[in-house]
């Protein structure tokens, strides 16, 4: 038994053995405590007070301390503690406010030794001094703590917390004179046992009652507290101000905390309500308990480590009337079931990804990142050598992917937003204008879309077929392939996560569409496979520089369609999982050429829609047949949906506004509203307030339209009394003075008010400007040197 062997070393020969076991008590337990030699445990509750010996296989009842015909309330224990120096000595706190000591050495059946009836209310906690045999401390609901000398009949000293009920008292294990007390109002106090007049130190630890505290067995200054606010906090008392060094958030109010022996950062907790489990936390990993004991059926009321130097055996008593011995190796470890991966974007578009080291390393065996500027930065947590019980799974790696600053730029968005014309001119002109704008920004597809819209919706016959042909050829877009449109200009900041997912999914379908050669592209190992060369080069050709490096692509790719390559590329911080084949996928989509083209298999690299049948011819024939213009509505609708889906809600909304009633009915209200809100949100993030307002105004959705009619009230406070001005007028109700007077002309300022943030004087914008041209002092005469910039 390897386990046992390790235990024995920890205990220095005094081996503890046993298994997970329990016994039924006759009544719910309130508290338990162990004897120094770890062989016996005492269980106390309202209707129970017994000593059990802990055998190899079971608990054996040793002694029932609840004797007498009519048990008095003195037996109704709220707390019990076994002396760690003298194994015959026990103390209990009774619910009626009595502190009782018990001497097991007494020959009579009744072991009751002394009664201290000094507390007026329930005693919540008793505590023996760790090294002094005769010193006992109690904390009570009445707000007092009392120190008893067991050789005397009365208390030696009384400590008044001055702040409500005392919930826990604990002698410091290291400092002879110090003890900590926790209170119902959230305070923790430190006392010197020699100075009963006032506490040494007090701080507010929790919001609401602090139910328990425990000194760290080794680290002198560490105190753990648990409260009703569901927190366990570890305080460092060495500094002048108690400093919170760790905080664990549990799911229910914390009833008990106990440091795990021999494990510096482990602490066991149980809760007061609702949650019946016992958790052992590593305070450095506050989000997931490192071990969990789930045996109890009702709340656990008492926990104690069986031996001072043994971290494997935990005893617990519960309201469900059972006493358990938990063995650490039987504990369930939630970490096993957890999914230890995390993904997060930074403000600047950097992506951090953390995962178990094992996952990362197996992944990076392929070393796809070598030479990459975006090589992930790895952080590995070193195992703490002092921590002998560290879990292997706790080592994890963090990768950070930086984004190319330029590629994240959204200039095109801003420009487009500024230059688009949305209303005020005939449709054809609007379309032309917008097409030009898009073209100017090298967004050929969008330009194309605008041109097509114009063809579809504006009067016929105005456009020559050559003209059409020309534009079509350039854009390399064909109507049947509409669905494979791809935009380069997806706003990368927002919603990129979803886009990633989506593109992942989409790429799969495209892979299916594609012939084997292009599928192989994704597989780096097979990069050289025949047939893949040209399409691969083409597909990957216009990756941004860094990705090119990554794939060691041939950059001198001599293929045509230069205009294609010059398209602005919005790079994407790629998600870790798909880093394997990121560029390939992206390009499949980014390129306007479709599976259709690549599917043509051939060495035909040309993208001109030579083979694909052209829209122009079709539309021409259609128009000649005088088809109604709404014939194309479904297609236009699909286009818009597609753009929105791609994340280019700008195009979708702009088209929607320009086309107005022509298309509005085709798209359901909610989608429209959704587009509008996203676009407006985007505009506002780029601080394009005027444009966003224009969009709001032009929108036909009622919900959007009323956006700029809401919260148009401006609330002001009176500058004298700082209260809100409830009146409409310019006179404050309360102080009967005019608010916001101009310091120059002494009239009420009703328009723009400018004031100095230094002296808070101010006035009409014009007046202040004029004043400060000639003088640098405040016009109010306060002597402040105001600045106007």
């Amino acid at each position: 038994m390897e386990k046992m062997a390790r235990v024995s070393t920890a205990l220095g020969g005094n081996t503890l053995t046993g298994r997970t076991m329990f016994c039924h008590l006759d009544a719910p337990a309130n508290a338990i405590s162990v004897c120094r030699d770890a062989a016996q445990v005492v269980v106390a509750g309202r209707n129970i007070f017994k000593i059990y010996s802990i055998e190899e296989e079971q608990f054996v009842e040793k002694l029932n301390l609840r004797v007498g015909r009519k048990p008095s309330l003195n037996f109704s224990c709220a707390d019990v503690v076994w002396h760690q120096m003298d194994e015959n000595l026990l103390a209990t706190a009774a619910t009626n406010g009595v502190v009782v000591t018990w001497n097991l050495g007494k020959p009579s059946r009744n072991k009751q030794d002394q009664l201290f009836t000094e507390h007026k209310r329930t005693v919540n906690k008793v505590c023996f001094h760790p090294t002094e045999v005769y010193m006992l401390l109690s904390g009570s609901q009445d707000g007092y703590m009392k120190c008893f000398d067991l050789r005397k009949k009365d208390s030696v000293s009384t400590f008044s917390g001055q702040s409500e009920s005392v919930r826990d008292v604990q002698f410091s294990i290291r400092d002879y004179f110090t003890f900590a007390a926790t209170f119902e109002n959230g305070n923790v106090q430190l006392w010197d046992i020699r100075r009963p007049d006032r506490y040494e130190r007090m701080f507010t630890a929790h919001n609401g009652p602090v139910f328990c505290c425990d000194w760290h067995p080794e680290d002198r200054g560490w105190l753990a507290t648990g409260g009703r606010d569901k927190m366990v906090k570890v305080w460092d008392m060495n500094t002048t101000r108690a400093k919170e060094i760790y905080c664990v958030q549990t799911i229910a109010s914390v009833a008990r905390v106990k440091w795990r022996p021999e494990c510096k950062h482990h602490i066991a907790t149980c809760s007061m309500m609702v949650d019946h489990n016992i958790y052992v936390w590593d305070v450095r990993r506050p989000f997931i308990p490192s071990a969990m004991f789930e045996e109890h059926k009702d709340v656990t009321t008492g926990i104690v480590w069986r031996h001072l130097h043994d971290p494997y055996f935990l005893l617990s008593g519960s309201k469900d009337s059972t006493l358990y011995q938990h063995i650490f190796k039987d504990a369930s470890q939630p970490i096993d079931r957890a999914n230890p991966e995390g993904l997060c974007y930074s403000l600047y578009g950097d992506l951090a990804f953390a995962a178990k080291e094992s996952l990362i390393s197996s992944d990076s065996n392929r070393k796809p990142y070598i030479g990459d500027r975006r090589h992930p930065i790895f952080f590995k947590r070193k195992l703490d050598p002092t921590e002998q019980f560290e879990y292997i799974s706790s080592s994890s790696a963090l990768s950070v992917f930086e984004t190319d600053v330029e590629s994240g730029s959204m200039d095109w968005f801003v420009h487009t937003a500024k230059q688009y014309a949305l209303a005020g001119r005939p449709l054809a002109e609007l379309c032309d204008h917008n097409a030009k704008v898009a073209k100017g920004l090298d967004r050929n597809q969008v330009a194309q879309t605008w041109t097509m819209l114009r063809i579809i919706y504006s009067s016929l016959g105005t456009m020559s077929s050559t003209n059409l042909n020309h534009s079509m050829g350039k854009g390399s877009t064909t109507l049947p392939l509409m669905n494979s449109f791809n935009l380069k200009d997806i706003p990368s900041g927002l919603g990129s996560e979803s886009r990633l997912d989506r593109s992942k999914g989409e790429s799969r379908t495209e892979n299916i569409l594609m012939d084997s050669s292009s599928t192989l592209i994704n597989n780096e190992d097979n990069e050289e496979t025949e047939g893949s060369d040209v399409p691969a080069d083409y597909l990957l050709g216009d990756v941004e520089a860094d990705e090119d490096d990554l794939y060691m692509m041939d950059h001198e790719n001599p293929h045509a369609e230069e205009q294609e390559y010059s398209l602005p590329q919005e790079a994407f911080p790629l998600r870790h999982e798909i880093v394997d084949n990121p560029s390939a996928l992206d390009h499949l989509q980014d390129k306007a050429d479709s599976p259709h083209v690549s599917g043509n298999e051939a060495e035909t690299v040309s993208l001109t829609p030579v083979e694909s049948f052209s829209l122009i011819s079709i539309s021409h024939s259609l128009y000649e047949n005088r088809l109604p213009s709404d014939f194309f509505n479904p297609i236009v609708r699909d286009t818009l949906l597609f753009y929105a889906e791609q994340g280019d809600v700008q195009t979708a909304v702009s088209v929607l506004i320009v086309l107005g009633d022509r298309i509005r009915k085709e798209i359901d209200e909610q989608t429209q509203e959704h587009w509008y809100t996203s676009y407006i949100d985007l505009l506002q993030r780029f601080q394009l307030w005027n444009i966003s307002n224009e969009v709001i105004k032009l929108s036909t959705c009622r919900a959007i339209n009323c956006l700029n009619q809401a919260s148009t009230t401006l609330h002001i406070n009176c500058s004298n009394c700082k209260r809100p001005m409830s009146n409409r007028g310019w006179i404050c109700d309360r102080c009967r003075q005019c608010a916001s007077m101009c310091a120059v002309c002494h009239h009420v300022v009703k328009g723009l008010f400018v004031w100095c943030q230094g002296c808070s004087h101010g006035g009409h914008l014009q007046h202040i400007m004029k004043w400060l041209e000639t003088s640098s002092h405040c016009p109010a005469g306060c002597g402040h040197l105001c600045e106007y910039t």
């Binding site: 309330l73 109704s76 619910t95 009626n96 007026k120 209310r121 009703r228 309500m273 609702v274 409409r728």
Partner: protein, 564 residues
């Protein structure tokens, strides 16, 4: 229809903005005057059904009357009064308030007059008015203790209006159910209005059997909570929560339980302080000229006929001189108890029996006025099983184990459960209990710097004792020493059968303080507080909160047991 168009809009009046209020009131005023003219005597009432117009008008007039008396904003008060008098000039009979002030037990002059409140009170009034659209009598009485009132209003507002698992009309309906259990027509009226206002189905008001099955299921719990909370078991909770069409979710149930207990205890307060009907509710006003008859409907409901009860409790006849001594005596006793505690240590058995005795005695402490007054005003429609009432906890034949406060306390257990299932409410209730329990001004009659904690604790524990909740660390002998019989009668009546409270009972406890104070206006003569009548209100707050906590504890314990 022109009348529809002239529909009165009152909502602007709740605004904090004086201009908005003025505008709203102007509209109201014009509409009222227009209508008044159309029904004014001497004018043929056009083609319109005069009766309907008159109905609508009197409703509006009553509302104006209420505003003129009970609006925290002076402008509104004055304006409504002006409108009323101009209506009167048209020869239309205007209503006048019945009763005297917000409470029948407290002389009107002692209550806080709207308009003369201090800044803190005004802020509270304004808050209350802005959220509820009225300033109810309960608020006017509670304002004796502004600190508590603030917490109370906050809690009530959260329970009724803020986010919560139950829909708004359910909340008011549950309030009605709870208040009806105690035949508290005051609260029922109030919430019937609110219920309709938030869009509740008027049909439900015809009786519980017309409400959805889900609410009907709650009836049983309501009944037990109100009268015998110790009988609630986890089976009852199970019954409500078991999965079926009309089942409750845990969060909803907690919300409902908090509402039920809130309104049970508020009913206690209403009766305990003799809250008068609201001016704009039935029984709060009359169109009749004064002097015809001087009692209001509610008095009948409550068995108070304005005539002295024959079974006056003996305490009522204590002569004045003796009373003064009694304050001294009470204080002396408290001092003694404080000092002698350690010496005279009662044996454990003694302590145990003291609780039992107190429990048993509380059984005999009951008002001699046991006349069954049938609930009037269709209040009874809202609950079933009218015969179910408070049965003494320790009545023979029934053995219910004592509830040990240390095993299930509000601070440790109740709070966590409530806060878990209905976030923030635990905190609000905790604050409220805390304020009520710790409210003290350290005065007692003319004595200052008195520690009243003992007395407060005695009252609190006595109430819990009646519900069978025992504190191990309390010597129930203290209760006997500190609370005299007439006081106990009052406490018990208010807590257990509030509908039977009479002014006589109210006057009979601590009347000595009242008497002792006669003729003095400057010296604060009352035991716990500085304002006249405030101590009685203070006691009522203690009763209310203690009762609410007791009910909550039983209900929450059952829920906890269900959950484990």
């Amino acid at each position: 229809m022109e009348e529809r168009e002239g529909e009165l809009r009152w909502d602007g009046l709740c605004s904090r903005d004086a201009a908005t209020r003025a505008a709203a009131l102007d509209n109201v005023g014009q509409a009222v005057l227009r209508r008044s003219q159309s029904v004014a005597p001497g004018r043929a009432a056009g083609g319109l059904p005069a009766a309907a117009v008159r109905d609508g008008l009197s409703e509006a007039l009553v509302r104006l009357l209420m505003l003129s008396k009970r609006c925290p904003f002076r402008d509104v008060r004055e304006k409504s009064e002006a409108i009323l008098s101009s209506v009167q000039e048209l020869g239309i009979r205007i209503p006048r308030p019945l009763g005297h002030g917000p409470s029948r037990f407290i002389p009107e002059k002692e209550t806080v007059q709207v308009g003369s409140e201090d800044a803190m009170m005004h802020a509270l009034f304004a808050d209350s008015f802005a959220t509820l659209g009225r300033l109810d009598n309960v608020t006017l009485v509670m304002v004796f203790h502004p600190q508590y009132l603030e917490s109370f209003l906050k809690t009530q507002h959260y329970l009724l209006q803020m986010d919560g698992p139950l829909p708004l009309h359910y909340r008011h309906y549950i309030g009605i159910m709870a208040a009806a259990r105690h035949q508290c027509s005051y609260l029922v009226n109030l919430h019937v209005n609110d219920f309709l206002h938030v869009g509740g189905d008027p049909k439900w008001l015809n009786g519980l059997e017309n409400a959805p099955q889900k609410l009907q299921n709650l009836g049983e719990l309501n009944k037990m909570l109100a009268h015998r909370p110790w009988l609630i078991t986890k089976e009852h909770i199970e019954q409500l929560l078991k999965t079926e069409e009309n089942s409750w979710s845990l969060a909803e149930l907690i919300h409902a339980v908090v509402l039920l207990t809130h309104y049970h205890s508020l009913a206690s307060f209403t009766f305990g302080c003799g809250i008068s009907p609201e001016i704009d509710c039935e029984g709060g006003h009359t169109f009749r000229p004064p002097s015809v008859s001087n009692y209001c409907l509610c008095d009948i409901t409550n068995g108070y006929h304005g005539v002295d009860d024959v079974h006056a409790s003996p305490a009522a006849s204590i002569p004045t001189t003796e009373s003064v001594c009694e304050v001294e005596a009470l204080m002396e006793k408290m001092k003694q108890l404080q000092e002698c505690r350690d010496e005279e240590e009662a044996s454990q058995e003694e302590m145990a029996t003291r609780f039992e005795r107190e429990k048993r005695e509380s059984m005999f402490v009951c008002s001699s006025e046991d006349e069954e007054s049938a609930p009037t005003r269709d209040v009874s429609r809202h609950f079933e099983d009218t015969s179910y009432g408070y049965k003494d906890f320790s009545r023979h034949g029934m053995h219910v184990p004592t509830f040990r406060a240390q095993d299930y306390s509000w601070e440790d257990h109740g709070y966590s459960l409530v806060n878990r299932l209905y976030p923030d409410v635990g905190q609000l209730l905790d604050e409220k209990f805390h304020i009520a329990y710790n409210l003290t001004y350290n005065t007692m009659a003319m004595h200052k710097d008195v520690d009243t904690s003992m007395l407060r604790r005695a009252i609190w524990n006595y109430i819990h004792c009646m519900f069978g909740i025992r504190y191990d660390d309390y010597d129930y002998g203290e209760i006997n020493q500190l609370l005299d019989r007439s006081f106990k009668v009052y406490i018990k009546t208010v807590v257990c059968t509030p509908e039977k409270t009479t002014k006589r009972m109210y006057d009979s406890f601590w009347r000595q303080f009242e008497h002792s104070e006669k003729g003095q206006t400057t010296l604060p003569p009352l035991p716990l507080l500085t304002t006249p009548s405030a101590p009685q209100v203070h006691v009522n707050l203690l009763l209310v909160e203690a009762r609410m906590q007791a009910e909550l504890l039983y209900a929450l314990r059952a829920i906890t047991r269900y959950m484990t």
